[in-house]
Symmetry: none
Subunit: 223 residues, 2 copies
């Protein structure tokens, strides 16, 4: 999952980056509204965390322009407590949720998860494909009801694929979202390696290879 955090308070932005990375997200930063808009338009993010008060371009204005450009990435707005703006304004402007500063990281993560889940199509909290269950909330993976030990990177990859169950996801897309890099020239072999790890742990059939296109996890009916 790739997030964009737009905030001009450097300390807070870094703290969020650290904290959210620890939760398994890939986090990019932008420090003013202009840079934020550029990144949001270009970046193909899964979610944007946006401060309301920003140099160059306010959070308001940023969301409006995003929506005008037909970009519907979920936006979580951060507002200062003393705000002359209130929640309604932020929400009316096209944000999907908002949070008042100061807030706790745990709450932020909970809201982010909720938004991501709501995001594309309303999906059950526990994702499922064949005999495999993925629970993003508790970071657990079950195969035939039994828990499987899985590393952080493996989990991030599996979660992304499962979130897009039924779709073919290219190696480049996986690399961008699961690994933190925009460097397109890099070797995508690492994706193959990790697909291999997952297959070894979960069974050969959990991830299909679509030659020349990418990978796909079958849409999941259990039982």
């Amino acid at each position: 999952m790739r997030l964009l955090v737009v905030d001009d308070e450097l300390r807070l932005a870094r703290a969020l980056q650290t904290g959210l990375s620890r939760e398994g997200y890939v986090v990019d930063l932008a420090h003013d509204g202009g840079a934020g808009l550029d990144a949001a338009l270009a970046g193909d993010y899964d979610l944007i965390v946006l401060d309301l008060m920003l140099p160059v371009l306010s959070g308001y204005e940023l969301v409006r322009r995003l929506r005008t450009a037909e970009v519907w990435t979920p936006v979580l707005m951060l507002t200062a407590k003393d705000g002359e703006y209130d929640e309604a304004d932020a929400l009316d402007e096209g944000a999907d949720d908002y949070l008042t500063k100061p807030f706790s990281l745990v709450v932020l993560v909970a809201r982010i998860r909720a938004l991501l889940r709501r995001g594309a199509a309303p999906r059950p909290a526990v994702m499922r494909s064949g005999t495999v269950e993925v629970d993003p909330a508790t970071r657990r993976v079950l195969r035939n009801g039994e828990e499987v030990e899985i590393t952080a990177r493996e989990f991030a990859l599996l979660a992304y694929l499962t979130r897009h169950a039924g779709q073919v996801v290219s190696k480049a897309e996986l690399y961008e979202h699961v690994w933190e890099s925009h460097d397109h020239s890099r070797d995508l072999n690492v994706v193959e390696v990790y697909v291999g790890y997952l297959r070894r742990k979960l069974g050969r059939d959990v991830i299909e290879t679509v030659r020349g296109a990418g990978y796909r996890v079958p849409e999941g009916r259990s039982s």
Copy 2:
């Protein structure tokens, strides 16, 4: 979803009722601890929002009696900031989460959603995991039936982990809830150190490490 709000401040209670209704919840009110307890026992609620300071019966006492009566409805406790009670106490007493006044409605809704998702895991008043028993009421810990000396911080950590038995809890979450700090940039090593202390006192296997994700105590079988 049916919620019960117990608070003696009429204005606040009404505001919560209005706000939560708008979120799609059905909200009943009670204005003192006695009425709250009756309603909670009779009402089959999905969640209870509970002020700590109440006439007739404190929030504390209310939760304790609920749990004694084997009612495991999730409880979200509201505490005043200046409190002689602190948050850890609320959690030890059997509440599932807490929120310090003043708070924003959106945050409250987020917490409520999180609690409802987590659901009410029926658990005995004394929590148990393997050979270890934790009694929040008396702040005592037994291993193989023998009492183990434990410090306040160690207990808070163990209680939090045990309350979330079966789930992986991140170091950041532990740090926020057990150390009550919102400083995200601080070193989380102290969590590791205290996990080490607990393992030394209670046995290596009471707390599992989930590398890259956090810690977990095994789901307890209760005799």
